[in-house]
Symmetry: D2
Subunit: 304 residues, 4 copies
């Protein structure tokens, strides 16, 4: 399959949508990004790759980092992780407190903010140097030592992060988190602030796309079955209140972030990342969703 | 792969659970079924099959019929169907009214009761003889003309079906359904009352498992892309409030019913049905879930 | 105090609002009423009275009848009534199903629709001829044998009463009501359809305003303490989601109906009824609320 | 009426309940209080008084202080106050976040925690020395200069006050509060920590019971109508999710606190305070509720 031609055709087909949607502005630092950017990178298990546009521009991966936190937490805690976090789709916005209150402080899944805050708490409890350890793991998965946090973005998000602070306090009230709230939020926002390009994300997510590879990065090891289960959670919970829509239109496990990035995988075939900062009302990249929908329509390849 | 040996090994492994759970008793007729039954049937796209236990005993397929309603409604309405029904996982019990009230009478997905009641209304509006037409379609998909409704089960369910009547009235209030409430409920309960065996279900669901087949039964035609999208909805919404758990443990699209049946498909590989009436607290067959979990662990085959 | 002058002054003061709001149209028969009518009647425990406008025109008292149902049910069941109905303000719209589902089929209070439907069920269970018995009681309280149901309004409301039918089905599902749903709804809508004028309502509610009177009408007897407790429920629950607002602005126990009527009492002083069909967004008469607010401001009389 | 004999008889009648309920333990300092204490004080507008038990022992008035905050905020802001806070009963627990999220950061009423936190914010914005100003106002209302904050209780509550911190963050997110969260919470907890005896509380609440008095304390002035409206809010919202029950059984405006205190007023007649630390499941003093229920039954005096 000529993926390079396919992603070029896709770009031509979706250009009419390039001014649709709004970039996230609630994080002051993110509001400064030029919204009119678009990049895509796809790499296959056979070693091929295809690239287009700003595929090498780094952006804030935001919630995409939650997949990497999940990998680390699952490696550390095994199935005990699920005592503190559920794995059901949430049916409400990513930042809702309602469900958390109804369910006694157990987040519905690891990809809503509440779930990711619990994962930050777990890393704080179990790691000697959580900041460095998480970054080392990400660099190892991506095979790239220049990937880093953007501490200005993290600080900017903490400053106005009242809703996440409300969530963290509610989790502390329910004794779901153990560490002090400021440390947990600090690590949470830091993990969200990691910057990667489409190329780097696609390469990193080959660790999930290709089960035949051993998953062991910087000592963080998962079985093939655990990797598949992370993929299953991406499938059911990766797109907030639009997970069903993504499954319906795209048919691949994936994860989006409010920085405008989306990464998706076709198990044992390819990993793909796309980036464009303008978001729809559910917080997912408009151009990113369109591109992935066309990709699986064009190629007639989906997990279903 | 020797599926016959695999399903025999699975049965031995899960026998310790055979008294766990309770059969559904809220439908008086279903309470009469002997709960200590177990059957499984698997058939592959290459024509192989494997069978065990009560694989030829018919049971009430209940909510599994919603996949067949969805196929018929999607063939009739195309993507207009999604104006009246969502496709997001529900995050609440299958019979909740709360979400329906919050979302102005638009059911979250076709597999919660509210969604299936809307589909019954659509069939009533668009078909000349909805009862006969639906049955003819099911028989055509299954390639078996002896499949039928169980009118006693349907009548028994209507008699005590106050919650579904509440849902139908709420849908009528919101003008989501057009026909009179009793006709809609009559058809809804009748569709749920269809009786099939594991063998018959597995054969019928090959229509979803095998995309290379043309989907056209009794004039009800779907494109390959539409079939895949139905599979995607099974994946995200097929198990009520346990969809994430099923994706995590089993990793296949599927659908369960309170009669104790579960059907699942591995696209382009196989279709499998398992039946055992004892249910867990979420309304899914205890033995059925265990069997399918072991099946994909054993074979190391899942869509992820 | 010259109440006649006061209510005349009030009318002049509130005339600017006479075109504000919309009459209820969801009950087809009610939509036929001329919305530009206004009447008021006040009578004191000392035998004085004051009257203005259409004070002798009968209108559909609708939810105001729930106070009379409550009196009858409390006389029949005593405090056992509170096993099936709560007495807390509802905090949601009068017709919400959400709270009912969360609270396992126990309506929050007797004045939301769910509570009044439960009261209709109780009357059906305990009375030989519920329709006639309730009407006889109302006539006795009002001292007027010409008061009657409007069966066309009741029929018109049943025809489109899907939301109340949803509520009744949910109550039946939770086994809060015993009788068959159609009978319960029939009686419920009939009780709502009673027609009375402001003068008749004010006279009838003297039974609640004046504790020194014995409460015993057609054999339905309440202690003075029970009458006061009904007044307390009017105070906390009489105005749907606007009970706090009414307490704040008016400061009297009262009850409104979607026909545009409001009745209020000042214990041991007076009873007052006002009617004007145009409603605000919460379902309460715009002119009625204004008139009562001015009445207690003018007279400086309120229970607080 | 011989109130002294009445409150003595009441005490004898309710002694069987003296071990029922649990004192609040979520505030570590409050858990140290001896739970087996009981005091009551009543004073009339004619200058009589009655006293029993630990009527002169000071305790943490907690939420009772919210009535005093409301008086101060209403004096400062007038009806503009209601742009930031509603006045409807809440229908949920005093500390729920759900309603706050549904209603876009506008607390339902001033007496749930969210409402009181908004009032603390308003005082911070409008006063030069909010801590001292509020205390001076309370001392002036009570006519007693020895009343004070208990800074250990306030600190103890802040330390474990995660739920209130969650609420404050959610309010900040919705821009309902202006000042920084720690300052707001500091003042909020401080106001709750005021210690008064039953005698002092009863005397202070004469300011609300007796409208003929001018309300002007340390420059904080309210009209007679404003005082009555505060009483109306006590009536509809003073007892969390038990406001209807209190109206039904007692029939007086009042306010409770988790320290075990309850104050109630009979407008133009008397003010009464009762204290006993053991609480029922709704957070109200068991003995306090019983005592006030008997008081209005015995005296046959209530606002209804």
């Amino acid at each position: 399959m000529d993926y390079q031609k396919i992603i070029e055709d896709i770009y031509e087909a979706i250009r009419p949508y390039e001014k649709e949607g709004q970039q996230a502005t609630y994080i002051p630092e993110l509001a400064k990004v030029n919204p009119d950017q678009y990049g895509m990178h796809l790499c296959t298990t056979r070693g091929d790759s295809a690239s287009l546009g700003a595929a090498d521009t780094r952006f804030s991966i935001q919630s995409i980092s939650k997949v990497l936190s999940l990998a680390m937490c699952l490696a550390i805690k095994g199935d005990d992780l699920w005592k503190k976090i559920g794995k059901e789709p949430s049916g409400t916005a990513f930042n809702s407190l309602v469900q958390l209150e109804h369910e006694q402080g157990i987040p519905r899944n690891p990809f809503i903010n509440a779930g990711a805050i619990v994962m930050a708490d777990i890393l704080l409890t179990h790691l000697d140097n959580p900041e460095q350890d998480f970054l080392r793991f990400v660099r190892a998965v991506a095979g790239n030592d220049t990937i880093d946090y953007n501490r200005e973005v993290a600080a900017s998000e903490r400053e106005t992060g009242y809703l996440n602070a409300a969530i963290a306090n509610l989790l502390k009230y329910h004794q779901t988190i153990e560490n002090d709230i400021e440390s947990v939020l600090h690590l949470y926002f830091l993990m969200c602030s990691i910057e990667m390009s489409c190329r780097e994300l696609a390469l990193a997510f080959m660790a999930f796309a290709d089960h035949r590879r051993e998953f062991n990065y910087d000592g963080i090891a998962l079985t093939s079955s655990q990797v598949k289960r992370i993929n299953a959670i991406m499938q059911t919970c990766g797109f907030y209140d639009e997970a069903g829509e993504f499954a319906y239109l795209v048919g691949l496990p994936g994860k989006s972030g409010v920085g405008g990035g989306i990464v998706a995988i076709y198990p044992q075939q390819y990993s793909v990342a796309v980036w464009s900062p303008r978001l729809n009302s559910k917080g997912n990249s408009v151009m990113g969703l369109k591109a992935l929908e066309l990709l699986t329509s064009e190629t007639k390849e989906s997990i279903f």
